[in-house]
């Protein structure tokens, strides 16, 4: 398509206005990403000059049991995020969209965990799951007096305890989906009703398909949050017991602790690639480049 003379006249302004964003991208995103990729092929202790070692860091990383378990955990957490986490947020959005009594209050309460840091939540959960004074075991002991488990420190409970620290905090999903629901033109609902569609049919054939973009976006956000999840694990299980709740950011930190920045960055690259893969798959599956009303 040929640019109009007005557009051509404004080229220099377009370029100049894009420049700040481009510079920010260059210094704060591209440069660190490139340095992570480069140093992942090097032996580097963060201080002395790096030395090129080819694929050695990746071979070492793939051979570690903690990495294999991290990938397994990531897969399981991604599955849970896609189904239960996004599903819960979406269902809540559909309920709130019906504006039942107290919907505004519910929305505000649901928002609260988002203003508390993940680190603080992790510590709160340490108390919730504490065997002696925790709410969870206290509740269970009402029915089973002999129930004693330290959720964060016993297999296989630790994985589920970590999962519960984020599973139901889906307010971003709810807000995104609600935003899409509010964007559906009133005429569409009126037409459906004229055609005799019932509530379930409207939900299934109109509302849900029209929230495709927000649900897809929510899945991307949820899975990438699982890829980068650190505080919830570091402050509760530290990846234990054994390697039960290990993940890539923890491997990265552990290698930094051992002054193995090259190996740490190799796990950083794996996180980056996992994120890109998720982005591509969800993009394709949910046709995110196609508008709803095109």
């Amino acid at each position: 398509m040929k640019a109009s003379s007005l557009e051509r006249r404004n080229y220099k302004w377009i370029v100049l206005f894009l420049l700040p964003s481009f510079l920010v991208f260059l210094f704060f995103y591209l440069q660190p990403i490139l340095s992570i990729f480069l140093t992942s092929f090097m032996k580097y202790d963060g201080f002395n000059s790096p030395r090129f070692v080819g694929l050695q860091n990746y071979i070492q990383l793939f051979g570690q049991e903690s990495f294999q378990l991290s990938m397994k955990n990531l897969f399981l957490w991604s599955l849970i995020a896609t189904t239960l986490h996004v599903g819960f947020g979406t269902i809540l959005a559909f309920i709130l969209f019906q504006k039942p009594r107290g919907w505004k209050f519910t929305r505000a309460v649901f928002m609260v965990p988002n203003v508390i840091s993940a680190a603080a939540w992790a510590l709160i959960y340490r108390f919730i799951f504490n065997d002696e004074m925790g709410f969870m075991n206290g509740l269970i002991r009402l029915f089973n007096k002999d129930f004693h488990h330290q959720w964060f420190f016993e297999s296989p409970y630790a994985f589920w305890a970590v999962t519960l620290t984020w599973l139901f905090y889906a307010v971003i999903v709810t807000l995104l989906v609600m935003n899409d629901l509010y964007s559906i033109p009133e005429e569409v609902f009126s037409a459906a009703k004229v055609d005799g569609a019932n509530t379930l049919q409207i939900l299934w054939h109109i509302e849900l398909p029209m929230c495709r973009i927000s649900i897809g976006t929510s899945i991307i956000a949820s899975i990438t949050a699982r890829i980068a999840m650190y505080e919830q694990i570091a402050l509760t299980t530290s990846g234990g017991p054994g390697n039960d709740t290990m993940n890539l950011p923890l491997i990265l930190m552990k290698n930094i602790l051992d002054l193995k920045y090259g190996l740490a960055n190799a796990s950083g690259v794996m996180m980056f690639l996992a994120g890109i893969l998720v982005l591509l798959l969800v993009h394709k599956a949910f046709r995110l480049n196609e508008g709803i009303y095109d």
Binding site: F17, P20, L23, S66, D131, S155, G242, K254, D258
Partner: protein, 465 residues
């Protein structure tokens, strides 16, 4: 119209460029990498700026983890104040309080930027690992040589422990201020819950276990599993060849945990963890272990003499469940084992990148800390012995006023076997994370002692450079 566009553009540029501008230290630090001299220039500049602010006063900033809730803060912070008061108008140290968990990370970052403070806590404390110290600081000649300082202050250098002085010497340079005090680590027990028939150190392991019965020990599995690691150090040290294994591993770390004394020590630890661990052991951090002991839920806690202050009346607010500080007694480990390592680093080192003024303040502070008055005050506050110091009468009298500290000091004798703690021989990630993370599997029996040791060895192998 054009004016508006230009204004908008200027605003956008200011916004965009101000962000990278915030990071202008990084490229500078990068360009200075590898050149200690360049770092000195920067530090000197800062020193010069400080000079301008107050004529004649030489200042330095001291980030330290001996602050806040850290038990060491009780003595250290007033000590800095005493120093500032003594040298008022000449030297001044401003303390920057840093959370213990963040201290090592902060120091590592400052080292990369060649902006280390003039006094840095030694490896083995504050999460600073010896591996980093050797690889980054010593191999790059970034530690200031204290040899001349030693000659200038003979009254101080004579008090340094010879084994420590040797350990602190690298390539002929004295890179860390050597140890003045040795603080053997033992255990505390609550007489209301547990009364051994003789001193703990005089018991054999079997006698200890049988006298303990089903009484509880305040173990930990979180953080660095400090109390559990102390017990394991003693158990390994009590095995044939175990003390030598640990002593020989201080310099180059222990990487293979499948050696017989270690496996046997782990076997005994597993028994204790399964039978005698306090109810909150799984997931217990240090605060939880201390809480178990100070609430009568554990009869024994392995820990050093610095914990004595927790049993004084003024710490009463931390007690619960009818716990009485006066019922606490101290002793070393069964088999006459005390945990101490005289061949280790002292408290502080001075970076070569510090300015001359800062070095002067730092050296004055080291000399101040090593003065008889301060050393005795330290021993009275935190326990331990200064083997090369001739104690004053006043000190000996005061020591007797604190029976627990006195008891702790008296628990060692000429036959006591000194063993380094595992923290001195574990590589950083093993000591800080992996050991504690694997303990729950040793407790629930999903790992046998042999498997535990193999798993730990595998982790150490991964941590190797």
């Amino acid at each position: 119209m054009k004016k508006r566009k230009l204004l908008s553009l200027a605003l956008a540029l200011v916004l965009g460029l101000s962000l990278p501008g915030c990071a202008n230290n990084t490229p500078k630090a990068e360009s200075e990498k590898g050149s200690a001299a360049a770092g000195e220039t920067e530090a000197e500049k800062e020193g010069a700026e400080k000079k301008e602010t107050s004529e004649g006063l030489k200042e330095m900033k001291l980030p330290t983890f001996l602050a806040g809730e850290n038990v060491g803060a009780k003595f250290f912070l007033p000590q800095v104040e005493r120093f500032n008061k003594k040298y008022e108008g000449k030297y001044k140290i401003t303390v920057e309080e840093v959370v213990q968990d963040s201290y090592a990370e902060k120091i590592k970052q400052l080292a990369t930027q060649k902006k280390l403070p003039a006094l840095v806590h030694s490896p083995g404390s504050g999460g600073i690992d010896a591996q980093w110290f050797k690889q980054v600081i010593l191999d790059n000649d970034l530690a200031y040589d204290l040899t001349d300082f030693a000659k200038e202050t003979p009254e101080l250098s004579e008090l340094w422990l010879p084994e420590s002085k040797e350990y602190c010497t690298y390539n002929g340079k004295l890179v860390v201020s050597p140890m003045l005090v040795i603080r053997p680590i033992g255990m505390f027990y609550n007489e209301d819950l547990y009364k051994p028939e003789k001193a703990l150190g005089e018991l054999s392991y079997e006698e200890f276990v049988s006298s303990l019965g089903d009484k509880k020990i305040a173990f930990m599995t979180s953080e660095n599993a400090w109390t559990s690691a102390l017990m394991l150090s003693a158990l390994v040290g009590n095995e044939e060849g175990g003390a030598k294994l640990l002593q020989d591993s201080v310099k180059d770390k222990l990487w293979d945990y499948t050696e017989e004394p270690f496996v046997k020590g782990v076997e005994k630890l597993q028994t204790l963890l399964q039978k005698n661990a306090s109810a909150n052991t799984l997931g217990a951090a240090y605060a939880d272990a201390a809480n178990a002991f100070m609430s009568n839920k554990a009869a024994v806690i392995p820990n050093g003499s610095w914990m004595v202050s927790e049993f004084n009346e003024e710490s009463k607010d931390k007690w619960s469940n009818d716990f009485k500080g006066s019922s606490v007694h101290a002793g070393i480990y069964p088999g006459n084992i005390a945990l101490a390592n005289p061949a280790g680093y002292g408290d502080f080192w001075i970076p070569a990148t510090a300015s001359d003024d800062e070095k002067e303040v730092a050296k004055a502070f080291l000399a101040f800390r090593g003065s008889q008055e301060e050393l005795e005050a330290y021993l009275l506050a935190e326990g331990g012995t200064a083997p090369r110091l001739k104690y004053s009468e006043d000190f000996l009298n005061k020591l007797k006023e604190n029976p627990l500290l006195y008891e702790y000091n008296q628990s060692v004798n000429d036959d006591t076997k000194y063993v380094p703690i595992l923290g001195d021989v574990f590589p950083a990630s093993i000591g800080d994370q992996e050991f504690g993370k694997l303990l729950p599997k040793l407790i629930d029996g999903s790992l046998s002692p042999e498997e535990f040791c193999k798993e730990l060895t595998k982790k150490a192998e991964e941590a190797k450079q």
